[in-house]
Symmetry: D2
Subunit: 252 residues, 4 copies
């Protein structure tokens, strides 16, 4: 007896971009998925619907993603979105479109790295059990912002978890400090940003209580590492109608 | 207005042992707990019940712990147990005693280090999302067994989680290997044990998928690190009748 | 006044191989070097001498490297060799050729990664000051041998340094050990080999004495990391007549 | 035939302090050393000379150390000093005393941790070979200064080595930075100070060039780790007349 399930038909928007290309390769290599459309600037979006796509993956740009989403939802096609720039306002518009199409699912995620998402979940979960926590993120020296968005986001989630559990301020007897030595403070959590040639994208969250430390470290070397997250989203979205924000919900 | 909750009355069995002494100090220092009895070899166990202990903490030895437990349950006193040597048979006897005392709670935990328990929980949870996982544990050179019990236990939980998720074997093209280079294998998970002066008790669980790794590391430097876990158990056990195994349940 | 030094004229043998291509790019990008010949299978070797190459870089194969070296030395051209497979016998033949050409320099190095070479130097130097030392190397799962050549080489250098300083055996009380848990033993130094997706090429040398540890870690992510070592060799070889083995001598 | 060398007779000044006590224990445990005098506040310093001490170890306080040194040098006794507070002026006075006693040796070291001293030596040596370097030091939250003296000292030695080798500024494209995120700057080297419960005293020096990183890490858990350095100094000082600053010279 064979597995009679049909492969999921997938279209990729932004198919010639760096992420889009990786998605095309990953979908193509997956036995349970079928790549039915590759769409980029200059192509017609309805090629994707004509090809019978059941899920679209969108790695385009903030200026076209809303049109793509509107069209896809309207056509009853599920969408997995990695494009950035989603404000609360934009999310509300997407929710509005989806309210008319109760069977359609849209997942919008700022980060498809399962490792990074787990790092943040674990950090949030560990937060209330330790007196201290600091974040050290390390990136290549071509990065423009410090600290990284992931580090800031992690700090905020940790701070919220600590506040919710009633944790007090962390112990710190520092009296004399050279400016900057103790890092940046994000909602009370210290974040240090290292920049050096030879690094790619790394983050360490260090928790400590008298006598022990727990460290959660994520090293990301290549965008290929986002593909398992993208494929997980593609496989999950058909059974998750409505709007889902972030990969977290899919990892439970 | 003051907090009118009465402190929990706690007795410590094995109070002159290394762990017992730490527990006495920790209970004594906690505002919501009151140390009412310190019992060790040669002392009468009923001193603890006479003193009105509501929770007993037992860090004794395998040959006396069952008598202690039987007595405490019989007297309706909750017990937190860090003593080792619990077989399935012993656990069944404890369950039997508790069946006659529906209000009494007993928690038996092999490890009160919250960091270590979280490390294992996170490892189990991450297991199904990565192609590869290996464990490197590092201890002082006076340790008699290799790998450590915690490492073996972590490996087994990871292996179970991978099996449940239908993960296949990990990739490994090793053709030529010096004996021992690839570590010990526990249910398909490789475990490496480092022994060196200057180390105390450390463990690293390394997960990897093409392009990224996630590392969970625990460093334990002092048995004082077990105290938050013991106190958490003491505070929780009065509202957890029946038998609880491990600290995990208390961390959710 | 300008820097009137002429650039060094460099030819690359094995120019279409993975390493050769990187060398061509690196030489081309360096202001003080001029790429005058790219030679590979099917090309005539005398193209390089005709082009006036002062230094040849050889990343070819064991079956042609000796002919290349013989020719170059005969022509009075210095050579930097990254090709593998040099036995003591082969080195003796090279020394023989060089004895007739006192002005010519040949450098043969098994590893052009300056980081890796420094890691080994530092490890050798630290060896006699610590009671314990172990090596953990971590590589991608497509690697065929375990432990890596670099790890074995490091272990041997550490063992020699300890022996020369009269260090005794390392402390290790292990009584019960699962097969492989304590790693492979190379001249008394334990070496552990981790293999996991997401890793590239990493090595950690851990030294310990009661109360402290010193760890030297090298992470290699890309063969581009060998280029600074190759260029250092190219720039140094013209003033180092005779045979030089390894990058070490150039780093002092 | 037996080893006929007489043990070195050692006196300890500040013998009841935390470091002094450790030194007494360590000297007592060493077969080639004999503890002949333990001197502290209220004791007569000449007890040490009367007892025939050949080497004095001084872990006292800045207000008495100069008198101790003057007396010892005058008596022709070698001294190993771990007491802090030595200015250039004080060192000059010591040099003056020693000029009249050409056979006497004094070693003054800010740090007797061999691991820490090697870390700084290695960092200095690696400095010129990498484009980037940053320091992350991690300490317990009771520490008053940030960054640590060792981190500042390491940064300065790295900066000097880079300057001497003509290294340019490190690459760093940071445009938007939260205050403090990029750490403190010491002579152009970024230093980050982490403070958390559960930590003791740790430092990581990270070097990077495109494609590779080299990390040197030191973990210090206990002041017992300074004893091998103190004993090395005691054994070396009798054959090192004059003033020696720092442990470095003894490690070559």
């Amino acid at each position: 007896m064979t597995d009679e399930r049909e492969p999921i038909r997938v279209g990729v928007l932004g198919a010639r971009g760096r992420m889009g290309l990786e998605v095309c390769k990953a979908v193509d290599a997956a036995e349970d998925l079928e790549l039915v459309a590759m769409v980029d600037q200059g192509d017609w979006l309805f090629n994707a619907s004509d090809a019978g796509a059941q899920v679209l993956v969108d790695f385009t740009t903030p200026d076209v993603v809303m049109d793509n989403l509107h069209y896809a939802v309207d056509q009853g096609i599920n969408v997995v979105v990695g494009t950035t720039g989603f404000t609360e306002q934009r999310l509300d518009r997407v929710r509005g479109w989806l309210s008319h199409k109760p069977g359609v699912g849209v997942l919008i995620a700022p980060n498809f790295g399962i490792g990074a998402v787990l790092m943040m979940q674990f950090a949030e979960r560990a937060a209330r059990f330790f007196e201290s926590v600091e974040i050290v993120e390390q990136h290549h020296p071509r990065k423009l912002d410090a600290p990284s968005g992931t580090a800031s986001h992690t700090a905020r989630r940790i701070a919220e978890a600590r506040a919710a559990a009633g944790c007090g301020p962390m112990p710190d007897a520092t009296k004399e400090s050279l400016a900057g030595a103790r890092g940046a403070e994000i909602d009370g959590v210290r974040v240090h940003a290292v920049r050096a040639s030879g690094l790619v994208a790394h983050q360490e969250v260090l928790f400590g209580t008298e006598g022990e430390t727990l460290t959660i470290r994520h090293d990301s070397l290549d965008r290929v590492s986002f593909m398992p997250g993208v494929l997980l989203a593609v496989r999950s979205i058909m059974s998750r109608p409505g709007l889902t924000i972030g990969l977290d919900a899919l990892l439970d």
